[in-house]
């Protein structure tokens, strides 16, 4: 926090220019993932780790267009949940429609945008959405919750080559050595703490 400024409810934004998200969506997504993985002494928060930029790049590319999913109809969103995702929305459509609906819903409830809510108020709203407590027109808010949380973990823990996991800080936090992929020197000492930090596909190394 810069001294002299009043504490702001809204988090600092990922410093990249979004390719897919509008400015309003960008503020929403930053504020959303900031609560899924908040910053603290344990390790990086989602924004510091570059999760919003990761999600933006994913949505701008083939993944966002639904290229990895079977997207032919008819669609039966009311099929048993155990039969998997049955919504007609690609990842892009799900983010775009859900964010618009959720931000409007927050404005109705609180008179301001989701990104302007306090961290506690944002946490409470995430819990409500996770529990399927917010009904939106034409799109499932809980499906958005699930996908955004999945994509957040992807951006947090994937190789930095994809735009998230900045500084491999999430890997360093848990002790995953990334793309090191050679443990010949540790095969004869299985229970000893592994001493080396992570390596990225791009060649950055810790230890």
């Amino acid at each position: 926090m810069v001294s002299g400024c009043a504490p702001s409810a809204a988090p600092q934004l990922d410093d990249r220019e979004p390719q897919f998200f509008t400015r309003a969506e960008w503020r929403f997504v930053n504020a959303w993932v900031d609560r899924l993985i908040p910053p603290d002494a344990t390790g990086p928060g989602a924004i510091e780790a570059g999760v919003p930029g990761f999600i933006d790049l994913q949505l701008a590319g083939p993944y966002g267009a639904g290229a990895y999913w079977y997207m032919s109809g008819p669609f039966h969103p009311d099929a048993p949940a155990t039969l998997g995702y049955q919504h007609p929305h690609t990842p892009r459509a799900l983010y775009r429609q859900a964010i618009a609906g959720l931000d409007a819903d927050v404005r109705r409830r609180h008179g301001k945008a989701f990104a302007a809510l306090s961290p506690d108020a944002r946490d409470a709203y995430l819990k409500l959405v996770e529990a399927d407590g917010v009904g939106l027109e034409g799109v499932s808010a809980s499906a958005f919750f699930d996908l955004a949380w999945r994509n957040t973990r992807e951006g947090y823990f994937s190789d930095p080559i994809h735009g998230g996991n900045r500084g491999m800080a999430a890997w360093r936090m848990v002790g995953f050595p990334g793309a090191r992929a050679d443990f010949t020197d540790w095969m004869d000492k299985p229970g000893a703490p592994y001493p080396l930090g992570p390596v990225s596909i791009g060649g950055r190394k810790f230890g």
Binding site: A67, Y70, Q86, F157, F176, A181, F183, D188, Y194, G203
Partner: protein, 592 residues
């Protein structure tokens, strides 16, 4: 108009493990062979090169080596009276694609069937009586014995450079191996890969309880090795990128690292990638295959004529192609008549996780798909008395780590928050200090579990998708609960700080969202009677004798083992018969 390439002696549909085995045998015999593979060409270099391959998002999550579901998937329903819906995103199982097939991205857990698995119905009747087989169960014997397959299991283990410790060498029990395995004619070609920390703890606890822990037989070479074809493999370094990845070290056996190198320059073999077969072509009376029609990468429909057709695609695709081609009578669950699509089965998995203190360093990222793991076979097949248990069949129980990929395999205690600061604290605290003991159990075959063509949904070429009708039955819930209780007792003996249990409860439906197993079986089963099977003991179609169907689609019911060892053994058994008898006098190898 379809262009017609030059006719050949044999066409192979699907170029994974069994396609490669058949290509080797048929080209050895001097036949001209074309192999059609729906996916792209893939080889160790450049496709599996380090460091690009060590990318969890690209391979482990998005599934670069998997069949693109956007073009073709399956539909799934739990019951006959439901409408099936598409498997739109990967979850429960992953489908291979490209040269090498699922043999590219498998774990390499390399098992033979137990002798009683191959005569399972007879064995259960003899030991437990008819009441042990539920009225809706449609289990059958394999029409081939362990003794007949053993030389072929042995050969495949040598081709694949399998690392392990023999448990029963020509009838003599060997210390430290699997005492329940059928007698083997030879030891594994390579010694076990070094144990990883979680396996060491598991094996110690299992032995304390009197169970027989031994190294997981691993198609991960533990040392530099040259296979019987002269192909060289390199030692596994426990890099953690087996499952869902291609091996950059030439250590994990795949068609690319064991068989394809010697076929590459054969002038009597042509491999055509990006060739998606849409039909097996039949002559006018439907009794003889005359080749295969496929769509190439330009979208042209091509007819490849051949005298012999080998259907060696993945289990589900074999069944779909038979149905699309009108070969064999489709199975009808209402009458129990018909055979194609019958006896689809799966596996039921469970696990018990152990969460240790921070001073216990499991280094879970050090591991392989199979190498370094330990397993017990005490509660699999009929290795234990099932009297009074209310189920038949069993489970492997094993420990190890396949890479601890942090997106997919973050193993947190059940009371950890799902997200937020609490989730992050749990991830930081437990990642390096948690492990799982897994159970992988057999699923029987049932009258209401089967495959047919979906009436509604289509693939990118406009053809009907395969429809799966499948759910758990009482036998599986009981079998999994039994194995899970054993796994739990082992985990408790490891004295962790806390425990987490993952077990499907009675009444819960098959959930396609969570990865469980790619060991899907049946639908083109082998048997002794054409009224109840699609292929004979040599994997030859009863209806179209110049068609042979490879793979786990042949299994009459599933096992508590990984399928690759058995399906490779069946392929070599079939290949020998084709070479020694069929090619000399083409026709039915078994009288119907």
């Amino acid at each position: 108009m379809s262009p017609r390439p030059k006719p050949v002696d044999a066409v192979i549909i699907g170029y994974g493990w069994t396609g490669a085995i058949m290509a080797k045998t048929l080209t050895d015999a001097g036949l001209s062979v074309v192999a059609l593979e729906r996916g792209p060409m893939r080889d160790t270099s450049p496709d599996f090169s380090y460091p690009q391959v060590a990318d969890e998002l690209r391979h482990g999550i998005r599934g670069e080596y998997w069949q693109p579901l956007a073009r073709e998937t399956v539909t799934i329903r739990h019951r006959l009276d439901q409408e099936a819906v598409p498997y739109r995103q990967y979850g429960s199982f992953v489908l291979g694609n490209g040269v090498g097939g699922a043999g590219t991205h498998w774990n390499g857990q390399q098992w033979r069937a137990s002798p009683e698995d191959l005569r399972f119905r007879s064995h259960v009747l003899e030991r437990y009586g008819a009441q042990a087989i539920g009225p809706d169960m449609t289990i059958q014997d394999y029409p081939v014995t362990f003794e007949e397959l053993e030389p072929h299991f042995d050969h495949f283990e040598k081709v694949a450079g399998v690392s392990g410790r023999a448990g029963n060498l020509r009838g003599t029990l060997m210390p430290g191996g699997n005492p329940f395995e059928g007698p083997r004619s030879d030891a594994f070609p390579n010694p076990p890969v070094a144990d990883i920390e979680s396996s060491i703890r598991f094996a110690r606890a299992a032995r304390e309880l009197g169970y027989n822990a031994f190294p997981m037989p691993a198609a991960n070479a533990s040392r530099a090795y040259t296979n019987p074809y002269g192909v060289r493999m390199g030692p596994c370094n426990l890099c953690g990128f087996c499952e869902r990845f291609g091996c950059f070290l030439y250590s994990k056996a795949s068609p690319q690292t064991t068989i394809l190198p010697i076929l590459k320059h054969r002038t009597n073999l042509e491999v055509r990638p990006n060739a998606q077969v849409t039909r097996i072509l039949l002559d006018s009376d439907g009794k003889r295959a005359v080749g295969a029609a496929y769509v190439d990468e330009k979208g042209d429909l091509i007819e490849q004529r051949a005298d012999l057709v080998i259907l060696s695609a993945f289990q589900m695709h074999n069944v779909r192609l038979l149905l699309l081609s009108g070969i064999g009578e489709p199975y009808d669950p209402a009458t129990g008549k018909g055979v194609v699509g019958k006896n689809y089965a799966y596996q039921m998995v469970s696990s018990v996780s152990a969460y240790f203190d921070k001073d216990v360093h499991l280094n879970p990222f050090i591991g392989a798909g199979a190498g370094g793991q330990q397993v017990i076979d005490d509660f699999n097949s009929d290795h234990f008395d099932h009297t009074g248990l209310g189920f038949i069949g069993g489970s492997l129980i094993f420990a190890g780590a396949t890479g601890a990929r942090p997106i997919e395999q973050m193993n947190l205690p059940p009371d950890a928050p799902r997200w937020g600061a609490g989730w992050k604290a749990a991830a930081a605290a437990h990642y390096g200090h948690s492990m799982s003991v897994a159970t992988m159990g057999a699923v029987m075959s049932y009258r209401d579990a089967y495959l047919d063509l979906d009436p509604t949904y289509r693939d990118a070429l406009g053809q009907p998708l395969l429809r799966m009708t499948f759910n758990w039955h009482e036998n599986e819930y009981r079998l999994a609960a039994h194995a899970n209780a054993k796994a739990r007792s082992i985990v408790e003996a490891m004295k962790p700080k806390s425990i987490g249990v993952n077990l499907i409860k009675p009444g819960e439906n098959y959930d396609v969202r969570r990865y469980q197993s790619t060991h899907t079986t049946g639908g083109a089963i082998m048997g002794a009677d054409p009224a109840t099977s699609v292929i004979n003991r040599y994997s030859q179609s009863w209806d179209v004798p110049n068609l042979f169907v490879m793979g786990a689609s042949a299994f009459p019911q599933n096992l508590g083992y990984n399928p690759t060892g058995l399906l490779a053994g069946l392929a070599y058994f079939s290949a020998a018969e084709i070479r020694d008898r069929y090619l000399k006098a083409p026709g039915p190898l078994v009288d119907a």
